[in-house]
Symmetry: C2
Subunit: 518 residues, 2 copies
Amino acid sequence: MAVCTMSYTHLPATHQPRLRRSNAAPASQQVVDNPQAETTTRKVTRWAESLSHHLHLHVEPPSSHAGGQNFTRDIWREYDEKLSSPVMSPKEDISQRWKEIQGFSDWEGLLEPLHPWLRREIVKYGEFTQATYDAFDFDSFSEYHGSWKYNKHKLFDKLGLTKHGYKTTKYIYAMSHIELPHWIERSHVADAWSRDSNWMGYVAVSDDEETRRIGRRDIVVAWRGTVVPCEWFENFQSKLEPIRKGESKVEHGFLSIYTSKSDSTRYNKSSASEQVMREVMRLVNFYKEKGEEVSLTITGHSLGGALAMLNAYEAGSTIPDLPITVISFGAPRVGNFAFKDELDKLGVKTLRIVTKQDWVPRMPGLVFNEALQVFDEITGTLEWVYTHVGTELKLDVCSSPYLKKGMNFSGIHNLETYLHLVDGYLSSKVPFRFEARRDVALVNKSSDMIVDELRIPHCWYQSANKGLVCDDHGRWVRPKREPDDVPSPTIEAHNHDLAVELQAYDVNVNGLLSCIKL
Amino acid sequence: MAVCTMSYTHLPATHQPRLRRSNAAPASQQVVDNPQAETTTRKVTRWAESLSHHLHLHVEPPSSHAGGQNFTRDIWREYDEKLSSPVMSPKEDISQRWKEIQGFSDWEGLLEPLHPWLRREIVKYGEFTQATYDAFDFDSFSEYHGSWKYNKHKLFDKLGLTKHGYKTTKYIYAMSHIELPHWIERSHVADAWSRDSNWMGYVAVSDDEETRRIGRRDIVVAWRGTVVPCEWFENFQSKLEPIRKGESKVEHGFLSIYTSKSDSTRYNKSSASEQVMREVMRLVNFYKEKGEEVSLTITGHSLGGALAMLNAYEAGSTIPDLPITVISFGAPRVGNFAFKDELDKLGVKTLRIVTKQDWVPRMPGLVFNEALQVFDEITGTLEWVYTHVGTELKLDVCSSPYLKKGMNFSGIHNLETYLHLVDGYLSSKVPFRFEARRDVALVNKSSDMIVDELRIPHCWYQSANKGLVCDDHGRWVRPKREPDDVPSPTIEAHNHDLAVELQAYDVNVNGLLSCIKL
């Protein structure tokens, strides 16, 4: 199918993509391969290429062949035009087609080209994940280092995410019994909020208005990843461990973070797994009892993407008839073939968004991975081989004219880079969308990925004077936090109960109001 | 003279230093050497030591022998106490003794121990110099990179320096015809405010209240230094060039920055020298015509200290009967012996504040310097040998219990480290002053020098989101500057004329008011 004839037959006319002629590749290059048409011979050839590629540990550097590289002046004008336009695309009512967008049909026909409604949802869930970084306390001198900066009632407001129409109901904490490099942020100070745990994510739920727009009550779990990626995942190479009694095995570091708990801690007397499952089940029961249709969407970046898979596996095994979707960004492999098969059986739908130049999705299992599947009959078992699951959406740093093309591994792996690339993605064969509206400047929040011409400072996401303020004596001090911004296991438990009560109250009042209206 | 009997005979009782007994060194170590008592033999021995030291290029590392190193818990308590006290010592009326404090008697009897009135004045001038860093636009993507962030009417207000009672009257710009490494900050952007010049300092003058307190109208010139010190000064090794017709020679890079100009530039149609001298002469004439006593204090850090010397030389040669004092921090050597002799003849008084562990004051002339003076009769001439001038006040990083003791060259050279050490200095033989009130946190503004126990973030002096703000569209953009915050040669010239008029008006009104009062 040539690009020029590519269209969304199911979309209103306003969504037909506007292509810049100057950037369009020759039609001969624009044929989208149909994977179904591949012969077995072709598969074997591909496998041989893949093995050779892996054994040489060769990673393709960002190339400069992609369209849109030589248009610096155009980019500047484009960017300037963008500056006077809103950052959000209009919100569409997707209630009639939400199951398709959540991957019930494995996103068939929605990825090449990428359906704008799906793109919008991916960015929404990505921004929920980004919130776990933006609200994380990275200050190693803070007594709250490794925790959050804003309590759950303020989170979306502080980060400008109330536009998505969700409310945070619970924060999740994790620890690990295994010594894992660079996964946990520990405070230097003696009176730290916790010695063992990190804030690892949260549970949120769609409000009434968003629920109407998306056709069901959507429960979201967002998992934070790690900041230093490669070294970390290298260390997990081939440490598969059984997840339950069957043949399913998963990476033991991920499993440890998801399941560790200790009575001697403040925040992990219950594990991340127990915390998240209790909250998800509470919300599912609450809304199902009201007769609502409910979905669970689990999202995460990097390590967070791996935790999302474990979470989906557990939710799928525990809660019957719950549509579960994972939207992961730059996530590593998590388990073996049996794990993948079980997830498929449980009906968990996974959209795995990766970037061609990102190393992390090649880990663990850089050499021994799903490419070995063709040897299944020879080797007899793939029990100890890692595999990816679900459907892949592959992005390319080179597709964006706004990004530098160097080997900046952490910049390429950065979640904001992913969100920028999703926003500009139409299909693997055409250039970055001219209409992409997401703020390009966000990419450089904590990286140096944007071309210098746009003059966006590097790593600009920072607080004034690192949070120090000048007191009445003229001294620069770290201000005391408001009581409700201090992590506290008891207060959080109390707030939680309160939230449940208030929610019940809301339902009653709303019910009463609708009766009165009738 | 043992420390226990050391006192300020000329000070009120409240100024007697409070010593912590626990930190006091044994009396045997506390004898302050009297330099006058040294014999010639001793001088030769010292020179031999010095030469050996220099030829091996050995630089003494920060040692741990100084008092106050093992009192982490005390320090924390001390710091905690400080947090509830004001940062400023009370302002004393120094009008009767200002000439002594400005160095008319070469600070004899004021340095060991350091007189508190002098300490306060040193810190004041140091803070004026610090303002040239704090207000500098370091953002290489800004079109004003290399210029200032606040116009001269706002400078002291924005930086909390109005307390000193001075008003800025002129900004000084500099360029250089010689290619010098790392001295100039050049904007990356095409429409930069200037391609050639950097904001290099300013002229300010004491207001009426401060003038009464300090006994004369004080004109201040503050010169900015460079951020990357050592490599830079190494490159200037032995490039002395004649400053005028005589034997005086100075480092050619410093001279180039001070004297370069070009008609093709926006900000250096006149040189830094011409800009500063015109303004100083204007102010001197203005206040002398009113019958006021006037002084000129020139201050600078690092390269700025060198420019201060050149400025003092020129002012001393040009303006008769003007008391001129230089207060420099971490300044390199500037010229040869003839230059030093001329400065002495001109009556320029220099208080050169250095830190034992700082490399920059050893440059240029690491090997060939004033230590060779004993060989004068043998070598015949010291024309090509660098020498320091004036009176030295030597600080020691190891004296402060708040500072790390590692080989952090840029942290040691940092002006805020100097100001902290001056604030805590009593004499070279006793520990850091317990009563030092200056905010310790300031040291870490752009370094990592404070011990971790105090939990002061590293390099914390930063603006929120590097100056980006979220606009109405939700996009992060660099806000447009207010018109009066945009560097402009014409506006600055206009403001300058206006300032002269306003000042004249002020004088008239004040004169009128005093007439009415009479």
